[in-house]
């Protein structure tokens, strides 16, 4: 079983990180038993809170770094170009049960991770010399990956949830440069907004 989990769980994670995923998947949690490579730590929720705090503390600087790196007209038209209007963003209900909040957090982190992957990929092409932005995007993606692992560990160990259907944002590979920048800015604006809510909710 452990070997199976060792193969399945990374596969799930890898699938989550694929760039440009398609339409939202149906949310049908599977009640299959799950196992982890080693036991989850007892302070898992505290770690999740710290991770959300870590992301929240850097979200604004990432947003600023992004729209600054894009150049005009972004810095002076944030309301128009970077408003957090992401229609298909997974919902979050702060007053739900811990399990429900963790499932929703899992979807949001998966969504953000995939979107951040798209943005990182686009920015390496659009702003190849914005190393600071690239580094910040990568480190944020690493933290999101760790957060996803912790949430999965919690869902698996406490609630025996081994699979959560997730949705992803639109694939930007076919968009033009401006649209790529705009979608990235909107996503990071949304990220800044939602991560503050999540940091408060846990």
């Amino acid at each position: 079983m452990k070997v199976l989990a060792a193969g399945v769980v990374p596969l799930l994670l890898v699938l989550h990180w694929r760039h440009g995923a398609g339409s939202p998947l149906p949310i049908t949690p599977v009640n299959a038993t799950c196992a982890t490579r080693h036991p989850c730590p007892s302070n898992l929720m505290n770690q999740i809170r710290n991770q959300l705090g870590q992301l929240n503390s850097s979200a604004n600087s990432l947003f600023i770094l992004y729209y600054t790196a894009q150049g005009e007209p972004f810095p002076n038209n944030l309301d128009k170009l970077c408003s957090p209007n992401v229609t298909d963003f997974p919902p979050f209900h702060a007053n739900g049960t811990e399990k429900a909040r963790l499932v929703e957090l899992y979807r949001i982190i998966a969504y953000l991770g995939a979107s951040l992957g798209n943005i990182t990929r686009d920015q390496k092409v659009l702003n190849p010399y914005a190393h600071g932005l690239h580094s910040k995007l990568n480190s944020t993606a690493d933290v999101l990956r760790g957060l996803l692992s912790n949430v999965l560990c919690r869902l698996c160990s406490k609630y025996h949830v081994s699979h959560v259907d997730v949705t992803y944002g639109p694939d930007t590979s076919g968009k033009d440069v401006f649209q790529k920048k705009k979608l990235g800015c909107q996503l990071l604006g949304k990220y800044k907004q939602v991560i503050a809510v999540l940091a408060q909710a846990f």
Binding site: A6, V9, P10, L13, T36, R37, H38, P39, C40, P41, Q47, I48, N50, Q51, G53, Q54, S57, S58, N138, S139, D142, V143, R145, G146, L147, S149, N150, L152, C153, C156
Partner: protein
């Protein structure tokens, strides 16, 4: 690498063993095993197998095989010829080796030829790596290190493995030059537990270390803070404020700091208390610093919970505290220059600059004030460290203060004496001369000396007095003479003492002493003593003092009186003890007991009065005091057999044991009558004979104890008459009592028993009933005997009470309780009477005798 070497060696031998160029390369032999990595300390055996073709070509067999290691022939005793083609060599307990092992043949003509070879290497399998630990330097990737254990002497690969609970990371292979550490390729992700372990592997084995599981945030070593500034405060000259920039981690973890500081020239660091810097902050104000002093600071940080590592120290930064007013006035002195002008003189005032720790800032100038006696003062402001002024020959007071940006120091004061100072010295006056050296950097320590211009004899002698006067000695004491009357240095004292009629004796005493003991004095004598003090120029006597030595020394009288008193007390005590021990003898001879007939009682008697009461008596009067005993003298027939008596005595003992502690009406009572039934049951006839053969007295007791009316009257039979008084005093009777228990063959003629019932046994009937119920061990036979006894008593004692009748009507078997009750009641009657006697004067008469005298039965 090792494999490559092996192949090269084998290839070399292949070439060596080819017979001709161009022919197929076929080795002449081969060695098993091909792999030759051997564990140190183990045995190793290699087998060389010759090929048939070689054997035919060279005409050799396995016997012709010999082995070499690095060109050294292995001793033949290690060889074993397995068969015609194979020979083996064994290396026991192989040591550290890395050598070429070759199989050789000795051909015809003593030509040696190597036919095959392998490289053998020895070493150890890897030990389990220990002390695995990891560190995450901020901004860098995680690095782990471990202790690989003993040297393996083999090529050993160390692989660091790591994984999350949900994901496994790529292995981190340690480099050859750093086999004890490895830095992972992936960036650290904090707040996710990671599990790490090390696997060590070489040709002899593979082993993994223990797994460690941790959150990388707990292994982080932060970058040191960067000190931005060190600022002072004009308001407080003792503080400096340190500000710094922190690690970016402070946005999501709490940090604590370690701040150290020192003065610029110091080598040791002072520590800011850790509790003051135990939370995230970006500035700190260090207090209690010296004013106008340059301090150097450094700071480091780590996680507030102590998990992880301290950062490196920051770069040092320095700052200077603000100035404060000089903390000390400068030392200064004067020098009077000779002046030709009349009435004036030139005085040079000099001082030295304050050291920095006293100046507390940059000294801007000095303010000098010269004040003549009762005159105006003159002020001078000087930037130099000296001032020369012309003053009159009067006495002056000079003051000096140093001034810096903040304020002035306290003033130093110096008196410049008047010019005529040197002409006023007088004789016979003590002067204290002080010389202070003046060096380039300030005044040295002064030296003092006392001196007289000219000495004279003291103007007054010392006054002597006694401090303590003994029988043969006296301690004298005196005060040092005041300086004013000494007129010189006191060299010694002389004490003169004499009696009224004797000669005067003189004793010299050193001037440093203030007391002296006169010895060999005569007791009870008047002495006169005086004292003289001497300088180099003469002496002066003091007033005379008289004292009288006492007749006795202190404690002499006490030494005589106390032993006498103690001897007297001891004698008295011994006399009292003697009288106490012999009180009976004394009492007999001095105040013998004289019976009072008015208080006589007839001792209780019954025909069955048992001799066994002696046993109880012994317990009651262990000290042999028979003053209160009743004596019933019965002429017993010595010729009568006694076994029954002894049986009844045993029975009594049994009953005593059974009822002990229950205060039973039968055996538990201490009343003598309690034993009566057993006697009557066993010796009824005998008692009848005794009754007929002796003069007996009896009485019916009517009185109760303390207003209690006895329920039954008991006949008491007694042989007690006045002549019996003598028998009680006879010691031989007492001896007989003692023999009752100890000797079966002796039945006492005189039988003693005490009727001494306690208050408890005079309690109401109901309590007796309860107590009788407890005596359940009494068997029915005993009870029957008791009843028979009562019946016989009743017949022989026609004055029985109504209760006695009721007892007789109760069937023996059914009425165990009531029967006992009646029985107890009867016995208690006697007991109550005896209790009355306790309050009466002791007599030699039987105590269970009714007041009023004896009554014949």
């Amino acid at each position: 690498m090792f494999t490559l070497q092996t192949w090269i060696v084998q290839a070399l031998f292949i070439f060596l063993t080819t017979e001709s160029i161009g022919e197929l390369i076929v080795p002449c032999a081969h060695i098993h095993p091909e792999s030759s990595v051997i564990q140190l300390g183990s045995n190793f055996t290699a087998v060389c197998v010759l090929k048939e073709k070689c054997m035919d070509d060279y005409h050799v067999t396995a016997n012709d095989i010999f082995w070499k290691t690095s060109r050294v022939t292995v001793p033949y005793k290690q060889y074993t010829v397995i068969n015609r083609t194979a020979s083996s060599v064994t290396f026991p307990n192989i040591s550290l080796i890395n050598a070429l092992l070759t199989c050789n043949i000795r051909m015809f003509g003593q030509i040696n030829r190597s036919v095959y070879g392998i490289r053998i290497i020895s070493g150890f399998p890897p030990e389990k790596p220990k002390n695995l630990s990891c560190i995450v330097n901020e901004g860098k990737k995680m690095m782990c290190q471990w202790d690989p254990g003993r040297e393996t002497h083999l090529e050993t690969n160390y692989t660091l493995k790591s994984e999350w609970a949900t994901e496994k990371f790529d292995d981190c292979k340690a480099k050859r030059d750093t086999p004890t550490s490895c830095t992972v390729d992936y960036p650290p992700v904090y707040f996710v537990n990671i599990e790490v372990w090390v696997e060590a592997e070489n040709a002899l084995g593979k082993v993994a270390s223990d797994h460690i599981n941790f959150d990388p945030i707990d292994k982080v070593k932060l970058n040191p803070p960067h000190i931005l500034s060190v600022n002072n405060s004009k308001e407080l000259s003792s503080i400096l404020k340190l500000t710094w920039t922190d690690s970016r981690f402070k946005s999501f973890i709490t940090l604590k700091y370690d701040i150290q500081y020192r003065t610029k020239d110091a080598s040791t660091w002072n520590q800011v208390p850790p509790e003051d810097t135990s939370s995230t902050r970006s500035s700190f104000t260090v207090q209690d610093l010296k004013p106008f002093t340059e301090y150097v600071f450094r700071i480091r940080c780590m996680k507030e919970d102590g998990k992880g590592f301290w950062s490196d120290w920051s770069e040092e930064a320095s700052g200077i505290t603000y100035e404060d007013r000089p903390s000390k006035a400068p030392s200064f002195w004067y020098k009077i220059e000779p002046s030709h002008a009349h009435g004036t003189r030139s005085v040079q005032l000099k001082w030295k600059t304050l050291p920095p720790f006293e100046a507390n800032g940059k000294i801007l100038d000095y303010e000098v004030t010269l004040t003549r006696w009762k005159s105006h003062s003159q002020n001078y402001t000087v930037t130099d460290t000296k001032l020369t002024v012309n003053v009159t020959n009067d006495r002056y007071i000079a003051t000096l203060t140093a001034r810096n940006l903040v304020g002035k120091s306290d003033a130093s004061v110096l008196t410049i004496p008047a010019w005529d100072f040197q002409g006023n010295l007088v004789e016979s006056k003590c002067y204290l001369i002080t010389v202070t050296p003046v060096y380039a950097d300030g005044p040295g320590s002064p030296e003092h000396i006392k001196a007289y211009l000219k000495q004279a004899a003291p103007s007054k002698g010392p006054t002597v007095r006694t401090k303590k006067v003994g029988k043969n000695e006296a301690v004298l004491e005196w005060d040092q003479l005041p300086v004013d009357v000494q007129n010189g240095f006191i060299r010694n004292y002389t004490i003169f003492y004499r009696t009224v009629i004797g000669n005067e004796t003189a004793v010299n005493v050193d001037s440093s002493h203030t007391e002296y003991t006169l010895s060999s004095l005569t007791s009870d004598t008047l002495y006169m003593v005086r004292m003289a003090a001497y300088t180099d120029e003469g002496g002066k006597d003091g007033p005379e003092f008289t004292f009288t030595t006492p007749k006795f020394a202190q404690g002499e009288i006490e030494a005589i009186v106390v032993p006498v008193c103690l001897a007297f007390l001891l004698t008295t005590l011994l006399g009292v003890l003697f009288c106490f021990n012999k009180r009976d003898l004394i009492k007999k001879h001095i105040w013998p007991n004289v019976p009072d007939p008015s208080k006589s009682h007839i001792a209780q008697w019954s025909p069955h009065t048992p001799p066994r009461h002696f046993n109880s008596k012994d317990q009651m009067y262990p000290d042999g005091n028979f003053t209160d005993v009743s004596v019933v003298e019965i002429e017993a027939n010595d010729k009568k057999p006694f076994p029954e008596d002894l049986k009844s005595l045993d029975l009594f003992k049994k009953e005593k044991v059974n009822t002990e502690g229950h205060s039973s009406g039968i055996g538990g009572s201490s009343c003598m009558s309690s034993s009566r039934p057993s006697i009557s049951s066993s010796d009824e006839n005998e008692s009848a004979q005794n009754t007929s053969s002796t003069v007996q007295y009896s009485t019916v007791v009517h009185s109760g104890y303390r207003h209690q009316v006895p329920s039954v009257q008991v006949f008491s039979r007694s042989e007690s008459t006045q002549p019996l008084l003598d028998s009680e005093e006879r010691p031989e009777d007492l001896q007989l009592v003692d023999n009752v228990d100890g000797s079966d063959g002796i039945l006492p003629r005189q039988r003693y028993f005490k009727q001494n019932c306690s208050q408890h046994e005079t309690s109401p009937d109901i309590s007796h009933f309860e107590r009788s119920q407890q005596v359940s061990s009494v068997n029915e036979e005993d009870f029957v005997r008791l009843k028979q006894q009562q019946i016989s008593d009743h017949i022989s004692q026609p004055y029985g009470s109504g209760k006695m009748k009721m007892f007789q009507e109760v069937p023996a078997v059914d009425a165990f309780g009531p029967g006992i009750e009646g029985q107890v009641e009867r016995f208690e009657t006697v007991g109550m009477e005896a209790a009355v006697d306790e309050g009466m004067p002791k007599s030699y008469l039987p105590q269970t005798v009714r007041r009023g005298g004896y009554m014949p039965q």
